[in-house]
C-alpha cells in the first residue's frame, strides 16, 4: 500500500475501494464502453424496436417507406394461419428431439471424460470437431448421409434387414434427421461445459458419499447432478433459445428452400419468417412472426426458470428430498453460441 492510500484511509475510514473514485479515468470509462453501446444501439435495439413497428404495417421491400398501418392485422393473420401453427408445432417437436437427448448424452459423456483417462486432450478435441464444423457444412454432409437412395443410414438399415426410411418426405423421420444434425454439432460442446462444471465439485464430497456407501450411480445422482444444477439450467436455457430460432439446418436440408420439405413437414418458425419476408415479400407479416418468436422464447425461458426454482424450493423444504450441500462455485456465464 502506498502512503497516499494510508492517509486517505485515516481521513475517511471507509472501505478501501472508495479510493478509486478519485483516480483518473472516470470520464474516459464512458469512452471505453461507448463502442459496445453504439454497436448495440444501432444494430440490436433499433432493429428490435423497428421490427415491432413494421409488424403493425403492410410492408413490402420495394415500398418499405410508404407502408400502410394495419394495426394488429398481421398478428391476426398469423394466428389464424395454419402455416404458422404447423411451423410452431414443428419448432417445438424438433426442439425437443434435438435438445433433450443431446443434453442427456452430453451429461453422460462429461461423466466419462471426468475419469482419469490417457489421451484426454485428444478425446476432448475430437468431440469438439463437430462444433468447429459449420452449420452449413454439417447440414450438407448429413443430407447426403440421410439420402434415401444413396445415404449410408439407409444402407445400414438395409444391411441389418430393417425397412429403409424416407428421411426427407415423411414427417417424423425428416424431423429426426434435422435434429440429428443439431445434436451432432452441439453434444460435444455441451459435454465440455458440463465437464468444466463437474471439475468444480470438490472430491471430498465424492469421498464422503462413498464412505456413506453410495455406489457410482448414487454418487452421480446425489453429488454430481446437484452440483451441476446451475450449469444444467444454463445449457437448457441456451439450447431452448437456439432451438426456438432453428433456421439453417432445415433450410439447407431441403436444397436451400425455406418451405421445410414438400409438405412443410420440418418447416420451423425461423424458416417461415424467412419465407414470408424474403420469398413472399411480406415483411410486415415476417416481423409479426419475429416478435411472436421472441415472446415464445421469453415464455419458454420463463417456464424453465420457474420449474427449476420450484424444484429448488421443493428440495429445500424440510421433508423434501435431502440435498447434499454442494457449494456451486462455478456459476456459469453465457457462452457464445
Amino acid at each position: 500500500m502506498t502512503a497516499v492510500q494510508q492517509s486517505d484511509v485515516i481521513v475517511r475510514p471507509r472501505p478501501a475501494r472508495r479510493t478509486r473514485t478519485h483516480l483518473p479515468g472516470r470520464r474516459a470509462a464512458y469512452g471505453y464502453i461507448l463502442p459496445f453501446f453504439l454497436v448495440f444501439a444501432a444494430f440490436s435495439v433499433y432493429p428490435w424496436l423497428d421490427t415491432a413497428w413494421v409488424s403493425l404495417h403492410d410492408t413490402r421491400l420495394s415500398t418499405y417507406d410508404q407502408s400502410s398501418w394495419i394495426g394488429l392485422e398481421n398478428y391476426r393473420n398469423l394466428l389464424t394461419n395454419h402455416f404458422f401453427w404447423n411451423a410452431f408445432r414443428n419448432t417445438i417437436t424438433i426442439g425437443i428431439i434435438s435438445t433433450v437427448p443431446q443434453l442427456c448424452m452430453a451429461l453422460g459423456i462429461a461423466h466419462l471424460l471426468n475419469y482419469r483417462l490417457r489421451g484426454r486432450t485428444f478425446f476432448r478435441v475430437a468431440i469438439l470437431m463437430p462444433y468447429a464444423t459449420s452449420l452449413a457444412a454439417a447440414t450438407v454432409i448429413f443430407a447426403e448421409l440421410f439420402d434415401p437412395n444413396l445415404g449410408l443410414v439407409n444402407w445400414a438399415l438395409h444391411t441389418v434387414h430393417l425397412p429403409t426410411v424416407d428421411w426427407q418426405g415423411s414427417k417424423w423421420p425428416s424431423q429426426i434427421a434435422v435434429s440429428t444434425i443439431v445434436t451432432w454439432r452441439w453434444t460435444g460442446y455441451n459435454a465440455l461445459i458440463y465437464l468444466a462444471g463437474m471439475q468444480t465439485i470438490s472430491t471430498d464430497l465424492y469421498e464422503a458419499a462413498a464412505m456413506d456407501g453410495a455406489g457410482r450411480w448414487a454418487q452421480f445422482r446425489h453429488v454430481t447432478l446437484p452440483g451441476l444444477r446451475p450449469t444444467i439450467l444454463f445449457t437448457i436455457v441456451v439450447s431452448t433459445i437456439g432451438a426456438a430460432q432453428l433456421f439453417g439446418e432445415p433450410l439447407l436440408y431441403h436444397n436451400g428452400l425455406p418451405d421445410g420439405g414438400t409438405q412443410g413437414q420440418y418447416q420451423t418458425l425461423g424458416l417461415l419468417m424467412y419465407q414470408q419476408g424474403w420469398t413472399n415479400d411480406r415483411l410486415g407479416l415476417a416481423s409479426a412472426t419475429a416478435w411472436t418468436m421472441f415472446l415464445i422464447i421469453v415464455a419458454a425461458v420463463g417456464v424453465n426458470l420457474w420449474l427449476s426454482r420450484r424444484r429448488e424450493r421443493h428440495e429445500r423444504r424440510p421433508g423434501g428430498r435431502r440435498r447434499h450441500g454442494v457449494v456451486t462455485a462455478g456459476v456459469p456465464e453465457v457462452t457464445a453460441r
Binding site: 457444412a137 450438407v140 468444466a196 433456421f247 453465457v334
Partner: protein, 275 residues
C-alpha cells in the same frame, strides 16, 4: 484438477472411443463421398475408402460455386470481426472491471441482458438499414453488427477483474499514467490469455455464421458459408461434387482447429466456470 476422480476402466475407454468415432466419422466419410459417383455409392457395399477422383470432383465444385472467393471473404470478415471484438471488448471489459463510474452496474446489467435478445428479431430493419447505407451485399454489412459482442465484454470483464490486481492499476495511476496508458501497459499484457481465447471463439463463430450473411450477402459476393448454398441448391449432377466442395470450404477451419484445439477446449471450459 484435471485428473478426474476415478481411473477410467476398459469400458470407459471403449465408450469414449465410440463417441470420438461418432464425432469424427461424418467428416471422414465426407472424403469418401467426395470421391465416388452416385452409382458407386448406391452399390450394395458402399466404398469405405477415398479415391483420387476426389481432386477431380473438387475442381468441378470450384467451377460450380464461388468457393475461393468465399474463403477469401470469410477470412476478411472473420479476421476483422475478431480484431474489432477483441480490441473493443477488452477496452470495455477493462472499464467495467477496474474503473468506477456512475451507472456502471446498470450499464453492465444492460450489456448482459442483451445476450438474451435473439439475432433473428431484428433482421428486417437491419437489412433495410444496410440497404439505405448502401451496404447490402457488402462484407461491411456482415462485419458491423458483430464488431463488439456483449459476451466478449462480459468475458473480458470477468477475466480482468480477477487477473489484474487493483494495486497494480492504482500504482500506475499514482505514477501519473493516463487510463489509456494503464490499459495498454498494465491491462493488455495481463489479459493476453483471455484475449487469445476470445479471439479463437469469435473467429470460429464468425467463420461459421450463416443466418445474417445469407440474408445480406448474395452469391455474387459470398462468405464461404453462403457459397455452400450454391452447392446445396441442387445444380450439382453428382453428390460427390457437393461433398468435395463442402470439404474444400471446411478444411481450412478444421486445420486451424486441429492446431489450436487444446486452447479452444480450454477456453470453452474456462468460459463455462468463470463466474
Amino acid at each position: 484438477m484435471n485428473g478426474g476422480v476415478l481411473k477410467g476402466s476398459r469400458t470407459t475407454y471403449a465408450l469414449v472411443c465410440l463417441i470420438t468415432l461418432v464425432s469424427v466419422f461424418p467428416l471422414y466419410y465426407t472424403i469418401v463421398m467426395a470421391s465416388h459417383t452416385n452409382a458407386e455409392m448406391a452399390a450394395s457395399t458402399p466404398p469405405i475408402l477415398p479415391s483420387l477422383s476426389f481432386f477431380d470432383n473438387m475442381k468441378k465444385a470450384l467451377e460450380l460455386a464461388p468457393l475461393n472467393q468465399g474463403l477469401v471473404n470469410s477470412l476478411i470478415v472473420s479476421g476483422t470481426i475478431t480484431f474489432g471484438t477483441v480490441a473493443l471488448c477488452t477496452l470495455a471489459g477493462f472499464a467495467f472491471a477496474k474503473l468506477r463510474f456512475r451507472g456502471a452496474n446498470i450499464l453492465l446489467a444492460i450489456c448482459i441482458a442483451t445476450m438474451m435478445v435473439p439475432l433473428q428479431m431484428g433482421v428486417i430493419p437491419l437489412y433495410m438499414l444496410m440497404a439505405r447505407l448502401g451496404l447490402a451485399g457488402h462484407l461491411t454489412a456482415v462485419v458491423l453488427p458483430s464488431l463488439c459482442t456483449a459476451f466478449g465484454v462480459f468475458f473480458m470483464r470477468q477475466y480482468i477483474s480477477s487477473a489484474v490486481p487493483d494495486e497494480l492499476i492504482e500504482a500506475a495511476f499514482m505514477d501519473g499514467a493516463s487510463s489509456l496508458r494503464v490499459f495498454w501497459s498494465v491491462v493488455v499484457p495481463a489479459a493476453r490469455p483471455a484475449m487469445a481465447v476470445l479471439a479463437m471463439l469469435t473467429f470460429l463463430t464468425a467463420w461459421n455464421d450463416f443466418f445474417w450473411p445469407i440474408i445480406v450477402l448474395s452469391t455474387q459476393n459470398p462468405t464461404v458459408q453462403v457459397s455452400f448454398q450454391s452447392l446445396a441448391t441442387g445444380y450439382a449432377p453428382q453428390q460427390s461434387i457437393i461433398m468435395a466442395g463442402t470439404l474444400y470450404g471446411t478444411v481450412p477451419v478444421l486445420l486451424v482447429f486441429a492446431l489450436l484445439g487444446r486452447q479452444i477446449v480450454g477456453g470453452i471450459m474456462q468460459g463455462a466456470v468463470k463466474g
